[in-house]
Symmetry: C2
Subunit: 420 residues, 2 copies
């Protein structure tokens, strides 16, 4: 049996333990929802004050140049690049994940339509279990194209090889997957899956919302085609902070997307009515960005600049292994079903557990200061963020969960909890 | 001749003079660029602290509900609505002006395509002198539609009636105009122009980037079809703060746009793969918004809640009239060309003046603390923001300009300044 002392010993030996002090975390809270909204870097308050009082208030319009506001999407993109295995000038931080996915999917479809041997392909593949907004955005885009594109939803991730093989595979233009599933925490092998997709003549778009800052990602090594992701989860950029989009160097010349706002123009301040796209990653921008929210992304990225992803990954797996082990040791008699893979290679940085009264149990946990979250159906999600989660946090969270379950100390709402 | 004493007397009698204290303005600066980036409401710093430290830092993920983050686009839209003559639940503050224009134009095109008598129309009209990003966005959208839509650029605003008449007019699906021109400050008569557009069977989209908070706007009274606009200029929302989009009640049921992110879903947290749009203005949203930048928009809107647009308009015109009169009295010998209309009904809240060395003269003004801005070709723009611009500011700005021109105290850059 694992004891709390064991957990304390793990914390004492943890090379990342010193990072926690960089985050402002409220007393009395065990925060296991950094996969939804990352905790606040303490530096963010002073940075906001600088942007608001000095750059906006004092320097006013001049700050677009003097404070580097124009360059923020590119500069932050370059800070983010190593976290996802991208090269310099391949990433911009801009707009929302949904909008960036629209850009990437449109660009991938156009690349295929312009490809002599692939112009007739009309199928876009994703998982039915993908994050719904990705599915909605794809439907939204395809509905406006008039050449009969169709979205095919895989019932399971394991159906992908079959969907890419034979006659059917020859119809596939693009496969759009989320690297780590938002609900289950299951992770794809990006390199192998991209290779399968390429072997079928399709392009691979990866959504890194639950990957960037959570697990090692090597976009260029995996030869991926496009990627988008989020800065407000594991990257701790702040609520709703702008998202990112990655376009590899090899696709820059062909990259074209429909949201051709002035920030994508070669000479935005020449104010010419004729459109001429800038060379490079700037084509993935669109319009003027929310500077205060954007600037705060840097506070989170600066912390990632001080740690190695290998160390983060090692601790992430140790935390989620510990959580699973403690669940089995202490909550074995309860109807909990682990839906996150046990295999490290298939696991992101969260653990998801189904319970017939998952919604009610999560509400009870939150009321007692253990903050995870709930996703339909019946899924309690617990995110592990090695920068500020301790082994003792994991111990305490499981002890609170055990107590709630042992005493059935939760309020079942018949409308929310369908007992299966 | 107008004297500085006359200006001081105007300030002493100005009912809006008391508003200036709500803004943080640096010493030694006369800020005439609120048409590009509005000045900072003092309340913004404390509001940012609340959002960052308390809502993000302490309450973490719970703030999406407890702090009303989810409702911000709608709540701010309702605060903004009276400023542009919109009704409740017709405006959301979200995304960028360019992205919102894309939504509005796509929706308008679809409405026309679905209209039995108008489905064959394939022409979208705008002005060659429209803000370039609007033109680029329209080109970007039309390039992805496959039914041969074309963008027609009017050489002059006065060409619109001809373009809407006869056979040509029967091909026009949508007219997309900026209400107040960014370069000249010329303002359209929204009611009359919308009526002309409707008479031709077309729909009218208005970009209010230089109108919202600057001039009276009555979208519903004008029977406009869609509008978008900016919160970081006259509304003082902060650098790059999220934009807005207006969809009138009468178009809600038919409104459909391609950026169908999860915030447009009827039940975003049901996490269903099937898309079902929410009823109402929520369809104009897309994805998760940058909360810190978004929240600061409220500080600017709160000030507008305390003043009457009629008073703002009266002072705006008095300021720009004064500026024009002082230019004529003091700078008459210099090659300045006024390109903003003298007629009040055609003037926004800026005055634009061409000078052969406009770029160099503006740099000299800025170096001496008079901040306007420059737009190609040769245009010096001076924005008048009645909430924080005084009559004495106008006097001093013209005196500095006069001194620069009289002494030719500017550095001509041959590459920038083409002498005509």
């Amino acid at each position: 049996m694992t004891t709390e002392q064991d957990c304390l010993a793990l914390d004492a030996a943890d090379p990342l333990a010193a990072q926690r002090v960089q985050f402002a975390l409220p007393d009395g809270v065990i925060y296991l929802d950094g996969n939804s909204l990352g905790a606040r870097p303490k530096a963010s308050l002073q940075r906001a004050q600088q942007v608001i009082a000095a750059e906006w208030g004092d320097d006013l319009i001049r700050s677009w140049n003097t404070a580097g506001w124009y360059d923020l999407p590119r500069r932050l993109g370059n800070l983010l690049a190593p976290i996802v295995g991208a090269a310099a000038d391949e990433v911009v931080v801009t707009d929302t994940t949904s909008v960036n996915l629209f850009k990437a999917l449109a660009a991938a479809i156009k690349m295929q339509a312009d490809h002599p041997g692939r112009a007739g392909r009309r199928v876009i593949i994703t998982e039915r279990d993908n994050f719904p907004s990705d599915i909605y955005m794809a439907e939204g885009l395809l509905g406006w194209l008039e050449r009969g594109y169709q979205l095919k939803l895989l019932e399971s991730w394991s159906d992908l090889p079959a969907a890419l093989s034979g006659e059917a595979g020859q119809q596939v233009a693009v496969v759009m997957l989320t690297h780590v599933n938002y609900r289950t925490g299951r992770m794809f092998d990006m390199t192998a899956t991209t290779a399968q997709i390429h072997a079928a003549g399709a392009l691979a778009i990866w959504d890194l919302a639950h990957s960037a800052g959570a697990v090692p990602v090597a976009l260029n090594a995996a030869n991926a085609d496009f990627a988008v992701g989020c800065t407000y989860k594991y990257l701790n950029g702040g609520p709703g902070s702008p998202a990112f989009i990655w376009v590899p160097q090899r696709h820059h010349a062909q990259f074209a997307q429909p949201l051709t706002g002035w920030w994508t123009h070669r000479q935005p301040f020449a104010m010419q009515p004729a459109y001429a796209p800038v060379a490079g990653i700037g084509r993935a921008l669109c319009g003027t960005q929310p500077v205060v929210s954007l600037a705060l992304v840097e506070c989170g990225l600066e912390i990632f600049g001080q740690v190695a992803m290998a160390a983060l990954r090692a601790k992430s797996l140790a935390l989620s292994d510990l959580f699973i082990a403690l669940l089995e040791e202490h909550c074995a008699g309860h109807p909990l079903e682990l839906i996150t893979p046990r295999a490290h290679a298939e696991r992101g940085s969260q653990v998801s557990v189904m319970h017939p009264h998952g919604y009610a149990v999560m509400q009870a946990l939150i009321a007692r200061g253990v903050i995870g979250d709930y996703r339909e159906p019946q899924v309690m999600r617990f995110g592990f963020t090695p920068l500020y989660t301790s082994y003792q946090d994991v111990w305490r969270a499981v002890m609170v969960l055990k107590d709630i379950l042992d005493r059935s100390d939760y309020q079942v709402d018949a409308k929310r909890d369908a007992v299966t």
